[in-house]
């Protein structure tokens, strides 16, 4: 190494030491909270919405005085949409950053893997999105979930079907992942209870170019109802190709996830019109702060948000509330506080209860929305509807 190089190394070394010192000083008067989200990879779009929502809630909480005078500091980790990366992110947050509570969790498969680590390490994990039923069916007392499990997404759809549509037959298409399987299985059960005939039930690999083989079969089966559990771009392609093949069921229904996003209507274009979707949350829900959240998000990030963002936004408030009530800022005390949560958020009331096989699960109503003239309108339950449902859906060639 030359003299100059040595000097540079020395200076850099000093800078690094200084940097570390400053970091330690800062950490002493903040409370660290770990957040794991898919910030890169194919789910990055949702990770971004949730990250923005977490940060927005964080700013509001810190501006209002933080937690008993201390500010919260979020440590964001990227799970890249892969379970193994998610696991190591959690390990890092627990051992290196020594956080006393973790939140986030987008994809079901990743969340399930992460929850197992959190439970093993005895650090509370507040799941905001991962919706596979089994996440809260393991008797894991360090795992809490704010969003309803996947099997409950179509609850509102069920009553709409029995009271209004009264279909005879159904075709179910789902993304072949934890989330897709969990949702479709639950919907099959609902269909059996309603006495619906299941013409076909088939999975597909996310990211397919050509859905026509699948849709050709759907067309041949000619069901009254097509139920799809898909992420946003698969959802757009499915609808575009259904239009291409001129498939005309009485109604198209999306089972949450992709069908409610602004990207869906942007990419599917006219094929998105009149598509129904089950959703966990809309702007028009009767909870305080919901409308304000949407407006604040749009003002701050110049983009529209959707239910995933609301989950994250509420998640931050739930964590802050638990930290406020915790006897000490350490995992077990925070767990106790979380278990006693009873908080109203923009996403709905949050209270972790046990029912059926589930433990520490928040229970919420779900909604049915429909795309009408490029706008997402709540159509069911009736008392919250912004517009009446357009039903039966006109055939493609009659539009």
């Amino acid at each position: 190494m030359t003299g100059f190089g040595k000097r540079m190394a020395l200076i850099l070394g000093c800078l690094m030491l200084l940097g570390l010192g400053a970091g330690a000083a800062l950490a002493a008067d903040t409370i660290k909270v770990g957040v794991v989200l898919p910030l890169t990879g194919s789910q990055a779009k949702f990770g971004e919405i949730e990250k923005n929502s977490f940060l927005m809630a964080l700013d509001e909480i810190n501006a209002a005085g933080g937690v008993n005078g201390k500010k919260i500091e979020l440590i964001m980790e990227d799970d890249t949409g892969k379970p193994d990366v998610g696991r190591s992110a959690i390990e890092k947050l627990i051992t290196q950053d020594q956080v006393s509570v973790i939140t986030g969790g987008y994809s079901s498969s990743v969340t399930f893997a992460m929850a197992a680590v959190a439970q093993q390490r005895k650090v509370p994990f507040v799941v905001v999105t991962g919706s596979d039923d089994k996440i809260t069916e393991q008797n894991w007392n360090y795992v809490f979930r704010i969003n309803p499990p996947a099997s409950e997404y179509p609850k509102a759809l069920g009553s709409f079907l029995t009271e209004v549509v009264k279909p005879q037959s159904v075709a179910i298409l789902y993304e072949n992942t934890n989330f897709g399987q969990s949702s479709s299985k639950a919907f099959v059960k609902d269909c059996e209870e309603m006495g619906l005939k299941i013409m076909m039930k088939e999975g597909y690999e996310a990211g397919a170019v050509d859905f026509k083989p699948l849709l050709t079969k759907v067309k041949a089966a000619n069901p009254d109802l097509i139920y799809m559990v898909s992420y946003v771009m698969d959802a757009s392609l499915l609808m575009r190709q259904a239009k291409e093949l001129d498939i005309n069921p009485k109604l198209f229904v999306g089972g949450g996830a992709g069908f409610t996003l602004p990207e869906f209507v942007k990419n599917a274009g006219p094929a998105a019109e009149y598509v129904f979707s089950a959703t966990l949350w809309t702007e028009t829900v009767p909870f305080p702060g919901a409308k304000e959240y949407v407006k604040k998000y749009a003002d701050k990030y110049k983009e529209s948000t959707e239910y995933h963002g609301a989950e994250a936004y509420a998640g931050m408030y739930v964590v802050a509330d638990a930290l406020k009530r915790a006897k000490a800022i350490e995992p077990d005390a925070v767990r106790e506080a979380l278990a006693a949560t009873d908080l109203m958020t923009a996403f709905g009331p949050v209270k972790f209860i046990s029912y059926d096989k589930k433990t520490q699960q928040n229970r919420l109503p779900t909604y049915l929305v429909q795309w009408q003239k490029g706008e997402l309108e709540t159509v069911w339950p009736k008392d919250l509807a912004t517009k009446p449902a357009v039903f039966p859906v006109p055939k493609w060639n009659e539009r």
């Binding site: 779009k45 397919a208 026509k212």
Partner: protein, 291 residues
């Protein structure tokens, strides 16, 4: 019968695009002896270029082929010239460090695109995006058919180029034996740069042709790198005819698999064929064709 025919048509159309993706990869493989693991990512860059040209200048994707292909040629050549060729001069036992470099380049390209365009999903809609025509009872998607025809055109051009031109012969010479070619006065380094450029331009064409029917986000590259890899192995490393056969086989296998087994097995069928070929035909389809 109709279902079978429809499936074959869908598989063939998709296979044409796959072939175009595969030929670029196999060219690079043949000449450089390495797998370009940034192949799909280069395709993604071309798709973003197409997207930008369409959204801001209103250029039709088929017209923008004339711009995206040269642009990606330059990108590919630059990558080879300034990132991969220098590595050739470094002493190492295996060509692994070049492969690792392509992995890095793929990541850099993805993250640059994420930085510029964010992770948002994009797609472009042209008047013909969802258009179809019918031959008998079989439906053909207009953009996929055009893509197939253009892919055939480029493939034949590539063939003619490799067989009939001096440059093409030099490329084949370097692929067969780089040292001997150098002794005959071929500038192997220049050939490598050009080949990488050509490979990138071909995959750019595939990306531009695919965009009207598909969608786009920064991470779209990786699955296509995997596809290209499978096609190249199926076809036999470095074989152009093999890449075409490999591409069409993969397209057909995926289509047949998704119709008759179920769409969740789409990737599975492709991969099973991949393993079978490795087991029973280790050299890939080029063993059968001898080209």
């Amino acid at each position: 019968m109709d279902v079978l025919l429809q499936t074959l048509v869908a598989g063939l159309l998709k296979g044409g695009l796959y072939a175009l993706i595969g030929i670029g990869m196999t060219l690079i493989m043949g000449v450089m002896g390495i797998i370009n693991l940034a192949h799909g990512q280069m395709m993604m860059v071309a798709m973003y270029l197409t997207f930008v040209l369409f959204t801001f200048l209103g250029l039709d994707p088929y017209f923008s082929l004339l711009l995206t292909m040269p642009a990606l040629f330059l990108l590919g050549a630059a990558v080879q010239r300034w990132a991969l060729n220098p590595l050739l001069k470094v002493e190492s036992l295996l060509p692994q460090n070049q492969v690792l470099m392509t992995v890095g380049i793929g990541m850099v390209l993805t993250e640059i695109m994420r930085f510029i365009f964010t992770s948002n999903y994009q797609s472009l809609k042209t008047g013909y995006s969802d258009a179809t025509f019918f031959l008998g009872k079989i439906s053909f998607s207009v953009p996929l058919t055009i893509a197939f025809l253009v892919a055939c055109l480029f493939t034949s051009l590539m063939f003619w180029f490799l067989l009939k031109t001096d440059l093409g012969r030099s490329i084949r010479a370097v692929a067969q034996d780089a040292e001997a070619a150098q002794l005959m006065g071929v500038n192997a380094e220049r050939i490598r740069t050009i080949t990488m450029g050509l490979g990138a331009a071909l995959v750019a064409a595939a990306g531009t042709l695919l965009l009207p029917v598909y969608y786009l986000f920064p991470d779209i590259g990786k699955p296509f790198t995997t596809k290209a890899f499978i096609i190249t192995i199926l076809g036999g490393l470095g074989s152009t005819v093999g890449a075409i056969l490999g591409g069409v086989t993969l397209g057909l296998a995926e289509a047949l698999g998704s119709t008759f087994l179920g769409m969740q097995y789409e990737d599975l069928v492709g991969l099973v064929i991949f393993i079978l070929v490795l087991l029973f035909l280790p050299g890939g389809f080029k063993r059968l064709t001898k080209v």
